[in-house]
């Protein structure tokens, strides 16, 4: 619902446009951050005061939300996002060993980006617990994940246009 306090602020930046699309509604802050991240790849620090102004919130409030949720990042990441599930069901099927193997193959630790541009992240349950271990590669869910299956999925992701 639009913010009744005042008319839309407008403005040319991506953050402003996205805020306007959500009616400058402070309750839509998380949706706005999702949309901005989808458009820009991350939430640039300069967007925080712009969003705060548009939604009539304090910068601290926007910063608080931005840093509370695991999904949001304030710096660019690698070309491909690889999420590896660490939930109990995946652990029961060797997730920790899989994570070690994948990280070793890519030469990057969990939370880091490999030289070839794969950002490896932990995730806590992808809802694919009967086909564990699970992974998600640029949004695509992978069940019964193995280092080989993950390699193949990463190759496929690299062959697609950049996010």
């Amino acid at each position: 619902m639009p913010n009744p306090a005042r008319p839309p602020l407008g403005g040319a930046s991506a953050a402003r446009k996205i805020c306007a699309r959500h009616g400058d509604d402070p309750a839509a802050l998380i949706e706005i951050l999702h949309d901005l991240q989808a458009a820009e790849g991350h939430i640039p620090p300069e967007a925080v005061p712009e969003i705060a102004l548009a939604l009539n919130l304090g910068r601290a409030e926007v910063h608080g939300v931005l840093t509370f949720y695991h999904d949001f990042r304030t710096a660019p990441e690698g070309r491909v996002e690889l999420q590896l599930c660490r939930g109990e069901s995946c652990q029961a099927m060797g997730a920790e060993a899989l994570i070690s193997a994948v990280c070793a193959r890519r030469g990057a630790a969990l939370g880091e980006t490999s030289a070839d541009g794969v950002t490896i992240k932990p995730v806590y349950c992808l809802g694919n617990c009967a086909l564990a271990p699970a992974a998600r590669i640029d949004g695509r869910l992978l069940g019964r994940a193995s280092p080989e299956r993950i390699d193949a999925a990463l190759d496929a992701a690299f062959s697609e246009p950049a996010r």
Partner: protein, 511 residues
């Protein structure tokens, strides 16, 4: 013409359902390929079904490499090593009691006509002819309890909201299914989204709510897309929007995305998150039924709770109440995950034992090694040992045994599991996901992880065990919500049932 059914559930797709559908389309250009949700036999995915005069005949698990071979068998539903026969006749399905998941995997999820043909909208139609109070009464009589884990009687919650005189009320569906081992919400939203919408519309009629929200975790992008599309279909058909089913009453439903915070499955955190805030827990009282979303009266229910409602209205409270045991009435969709041979969704009346679920439905471990433990009810649930498997799945019986049903997820482990590592992980998970509002949870999780690490290194084991027990008591009694309050469950159950995994000499620990 041949009609084939291939699931487009994200779990089925995670093991190649899209590739199989594409290969079938290429190999049988004349066939109509219908994408459905999953029936829930996930170990058989991708499961392909072909329509015959005798019903559908299933084949599975089908990999893209199997397709060339299968092309000959499919048109006549003929023999093939992967032929399973009629899915309904497989013991795995025949022994279930599918009420909520009756349609899932059978109809195309966004086909409203098919939904109606399979019994959909009957509950909402019945509710449209009833007073709000009478709807609340029917739900109360059915004995339906919150499927999110707390087990609170749904009818009482609805009655409380019904009694509020506020000008605006809300129905919030908690679809932040973060528990490992639980995926029933996801399957329902992807496979039968209209059922959830129907349940929410009934809740709106019952309580006088005009605003509806479905809060879906961002880890479920397929469910987010499917629910958003289903809302549009229902709006166009006049079941949502300014005139709910011609009643003259408004019910505006929308989807809100989570952003990767487990704590937002806690209802008050979820409300803060829907309001665009940090997902911190709110102190109670006030309860959400009186002051919930934006401070207004709010029904907060889990996906499976709301999805159980249409049938109660369609077939009557007594029909639903006749399933189950004692104070746990109706059915519960249980989900098997982890190291289990036949993982999937099993909907059964309450009272089924853990052993029946793991051994008879699940077929034991996937690795073939001996069973060691199962965690019931997600990351905050207790681990159980073999001797406890004859416990019935019932809110009270499990609570009495120091365990919990939670959201119905069961995670199976074989004998290679290190329970010391799992206890450590329980604290680590709490440390990562704590909202930080209360000290027992925020600080306790970190100190707990550190202390378990000391035990696992063989440092002052006896003294540190006492410390962990003491810390767990404090977290249980002093935390604001179930995150800190229940983290002791997996930790203490692991300590008590498997003390040998914690009793390490320093030398052994150094290995």
């Amino acid at each position: 013409m041949i009609r084939l059914y291939v699931p487009d559930d994200s779990a089925a797709r995670s093991v190649g359902a899209d590739e199989v559908a594409a290969a079938l389309a290429a190999g049988l250009p004349s066939a109509e390929i219908v994408r459905t949700g999953s029936r829930g036999a996930l170990w058989l995915e991708p499961m392909v079904e072909v329509e015959t005069p005798q019903g559908r005949i299933a084949y599975g698990p089908v990999s893209p490499a199997d397709v060339p071979d299968l092309l000959e068998a499919l048109p006549s539903a003929g023999p093939h090593p992967l032929r399973l026969g009629r899915p309904e006749e497989l013991p795995w399905f025949a022994e279930q009691e599918r009420l909520t998941f009756a349609r899932c995997g059978i109809i195309p999820p966004l086909d409203l006509a098919a939904y109606e043909a399979h019994g959909g909208l009957a509950g909402l139609r019945a509710a449209l002819g009833m007073e709000g109070a009478a709807i609340c009464e029917a739900v109360l009589e059915s004995g339906l309890r919150g499927r999110g884990g707390a087990g609170f009687p749904t009818g009482i919650k609805w009655k409380t909201v019904h009694a509020q005189t506020a000008s605006r009320k809300h129905v919030c569906c908690n679809a932040d299914e973060g528990d490992s081992g639980a995926y029933a919400d996801r399957m329902l939203m992807e496979g039968d989204p209209f059922l959830l919408i129907e349940g929410m519309a009934i809740a709106a009629l019952a309580t006088g709510a005009t605003e509806g929200w479905i809060y879906i975790r961002s880890e479920y992008p397929e469910a987010i897309a499917r629910m958003s599309a289903a809302i549009e279909v229902m709006e166009r058909a006049g079941w949502l929007g300014e005139n709910l089913g011609g009643s003259g009453r408004a019910f505006r439903l929308r989807v809100r995305r989570g952003a990767g915070a487990y704590i937002c499955g806690e209802e008050s955190s979820m409300l803060n998150s829907i309001e665009g805030r940090r997902g911190t827990v709110r102190a109670k009282p006030p309860i959400p039924a009186i002051q919930g979303l934006f401070g207004e009266p709010t029904v907060v229910n889990n996906v499976l709770t709301l999805a159980a409602v249409p049938l109660i209205l369609a077939k009557g409270a007594a029909f639903y109440r006749d399933y189950g045991m004692a104070r746990s009435t109706g059915t519960q969709p249980f989900t098997l995950g982890g190291n289990v041979a036949r993982g999937g969704l099993i909907e059964k009346a309450f009272g089924v034992t853990v052993r029946e679920l793991i051994e008879e439905f699940g077929g034991g471990t996937a690795s073939g090694r001996p069973f060691r433990t199962a965690q019931l009810g997600g990351p905050l649930g207790a681990y159980v040992c073999d001797e406890q498997l004859d416990l019935p799945m019932d809110y009270e019986a499990l609570a009495e045994a120091g365990a919990m049903l939670g959201h119905g997820g069961i995670t199976v482990f074989d004998d290679t599991v290190d329970m010391g590592a799992m206890a450590r992980f329980a604290f680590e998970f709490c440390e990562i996901e704590s909202c930080g509002k209360c000290t027992p949870c925020r600080v306790g999780a970190t100190r707990g992880r550190e202390t378990v690490e000391k035990i696992l290194r063989g440092e002052n084991v006896a003294a540190n065990m006492v410390l962990v027990e003491d810390l767990c008591e404090l977290m249980r009694d002093g935390s604001l919500c179930a995150m800190g309050g229940l983290t002791p469950m997996p930790v203490l159950s692991a300590l008590r049932l498997f003390p040998e995994d914690f009793d390490r000499a320093p030398a052994q620990a150094a290995e």
